[in-house]
């Protein structure tokens, strides 16, 4: 889910307030949430006085777990998204620290990307694949290695080699209809 302010970063801060029955909710990235906190838009202090209902306390305790994201400052307002295969919600994943089924990774790809990146330092696989994905995988690895090679050649000011690799890369992309760009 994208931040509703900047529409660039993933939303990792979900906020809801209810004052005299009037509700307001926000889904923001860390940066925009910081700005909102500074100009007093987000009453983060409310967290500590039991104003919010129980689920917040429940989820908040799980911050030490693997799925320590997203950071909640209020409780999530949108109707909970459920995985079509196993029925798990993102809240379930957070409390269990594990995915409910293979499909969960697609269903909650936005929500999980920062956690995966935190664990592995990347969100992009290199290496083996089942046979039904193998050809595509090999091509992607080849493109990745060419890109690395181009960067290394440019760093070494070996522009001739960089141009050769770039041509090779272009040829592969043209052949593939540019879909792996």
């Amino acid at each position: 889910m994208l931040c509703e302010r900047c529409k660039k970063n993933n939303a990792t801060v979900f906020y809801r307030e209810s004052i005299n029955g009037k509700e307001r909710s926000l889904s923001l990235c860390e940066e925009c949430a910081d700005k909102a906190r500074k100009n007093g838009e987000l009453e983060t202090d409310l967290l500590n006085d039991g104003f919010f209902s129980e689920p917040l306390g429940g989820v908040d305790k799980l911050f030490g777990s693997l799925f320590g994201f997203p950071q909640l400052v209020g409780h999530k307002s949108a109707p909970e998204k459920k995985c079509s295969l196993c029925g798990a919600t993102f809240r379930d994943l957070m409390s269990e620290g594990k995915a409910g089924c293979p499909e969960c990774y697609r269903t909650f790809s936005d929500e999980l990307s920062s956690t995966i990146s935190r664990i592995h330092g990347t969100t992009s696989h290199t290496g083996g694949a089942p046979s039904r994905f193998k050809a595509d995988r090999d091509l992607k690895d080849k493109i990745k290695s060419l890109e690395k090679g181009i960067k290394a050649a440019v760093d070494e000011e070996n522009y001739e080699e960089a141009a050769r690799l770039r041509d090779e890369l272009r040829a592969i992309r043209a052949e593939k209809g540019d879909e792996t760009k």
């Binding site: 693997l66 196993c86 620290g97 594990k98 995915a99 969100t123 083996g128 595509d136």
Partner: protein, 341 residues
């Protein structure tokens, strides 16, 4: 033939090499979201995919006694979690005793291979063979961006954990394990004592494995672990030599006393066994003692684990009878074909 009944490269430092691959079937949930019917379906599918000849044998792991299950974990053929788990699960073993497929461990399928000495490439090749066989018959859960999809996100990507079990008395006694642990952590590797974190009864056995599985290919992971292991082997050998040269008499005394205890003690508990194993194995590598081999000692260590002893000796009923059986087993294995006693 079990992995610990064979010898391998650099056996003075490397006890065994292991590779495990985590795989899951599409269309089935993970862990506690699976009902018994789905579990049985998964077991049947994996069995059909692998057990089509004599190469792999199938065992209903849930039907084994607790002693048999724990003994399998002590032999490093299944994980402790798998041994202690509940509900339907199965173990498929290769005829050569090197490959084990746990069905319904944390993931639907965990392929595990274990080979003696420093043999990561061999362990990986064996694991890949099973992986390809599974892949040719089943739809394995995979995402183009995230790689193999696993129950726990820490295994995403290759789903591979490669490890070497190292015997490091020199490194451990020089007090540099903590430092080593920090260094390895920085390059995506991890070190654990065999008997768990912070345990003293570890016989100077440490497992070094990769931590990161996403963004690094299987080959890169193996190459990195191999390179670091080679460096650690050299370092360990140098530290052993230094330790010996500092006080040859004291070290010889410790080795021979440990060997004497192995030969003549009537009761040996697990903790003492680890200590004896470590002292004598060190003595063998330094040439202090030549009437026993490292392979023999590995066989003694595994053969004298609590549940293995209980499984293999019907007289074992309690801790005392187990310590007695342990002392007898140590003596028997020392006087085996390789021993000179």
């Amino acid at each position: 033939m079990k992995w610990y009944e064979n010898t391998g490269r650099d056996h003075d430092v490397i006890v065994s090499s292991r590779v495990r691959l985590a795989r899951n079937l599409v269309d089935y949930p993970f862990g506690n979201r699976l009902d018994d019917t789905s579990k049985k379906e998964i077991i049947a599918k994996v069995k059909d995919a692998l057990c089509d000849g004599k190469k792999y044998t199938f065992r209903d792991f849930a039907s084994l006694s607790e002693t048999e299950r724990i003994a399998a974990a002590e032999e490093h053929t299944v994980s402790p979690e798998f041994a202690r788990g509940t509900g339907p699960r199965a173990l498929i073993e290769s005829a050569d005793g090197s490959s084990f497929v746990m069905v319904l461990e944390e993931d639907h399928v965990r392929i595990q291979t274990i080979t003696p000495g420093f043999s990561l490439d061999e362990a990986f090749d064996k694991a890949r063979e099973i992986d390809q066989k599974l892949d040719s018959k089943l739809n394995i859960a995979y995402d183009e961006k995230l790689g193999y999809l696993t129950h726990c996100p820490t295994n995403l990507g290759t789903g591979m954990r490669a490890s070497v079990m190292m015997f490091l008395p020199g490194t451990a006694r020089s007090g540099s394990v903590r430092n080593l642990s920090n260094q390895l952590g920085k390059i995506g590797l991890t070190i654990r004592g065999m008997a768990g974190e912070g345990s003293s009864a570890d016989g100077c056995l440490f497992q070094i494995s990769n931590q990161v599985t996403l963004g690094v290919s299987e080959e890169e992971t193996i190459a990195k672990l191999t390179k670091i292991t080679e460096r650690l082997i050299e370092q360990e050998r140098a530290l052993r030599k230094k330790m010996f040269e500092q006080d040859p008499d004291a070290l010889t005394d410790r080795v021979m006393r440990a060997y004497g205890t192995m030969l003549y003690a009537a009761l040996i508990d697990t903790e003492e066994l680890f200590r004896l194993y470590s002292d004598v194995r060190l003595g063998v590598s330094l040439g202090v003692i030549d009437c026993v081999t490292a392979e023999q000692l590995d066989r003694i260590l595994i053969g004298c684990m609590p549940a293995v002893l209980m499984r293999d000796n019907e007289n074992v009923r309690d801790a005392r009878s187990r310590d007695k059986a342990r002392a007898e087993t140590v003596r028997r294995l020392l006087s085996g074909p390789e021993g000179k006693n």
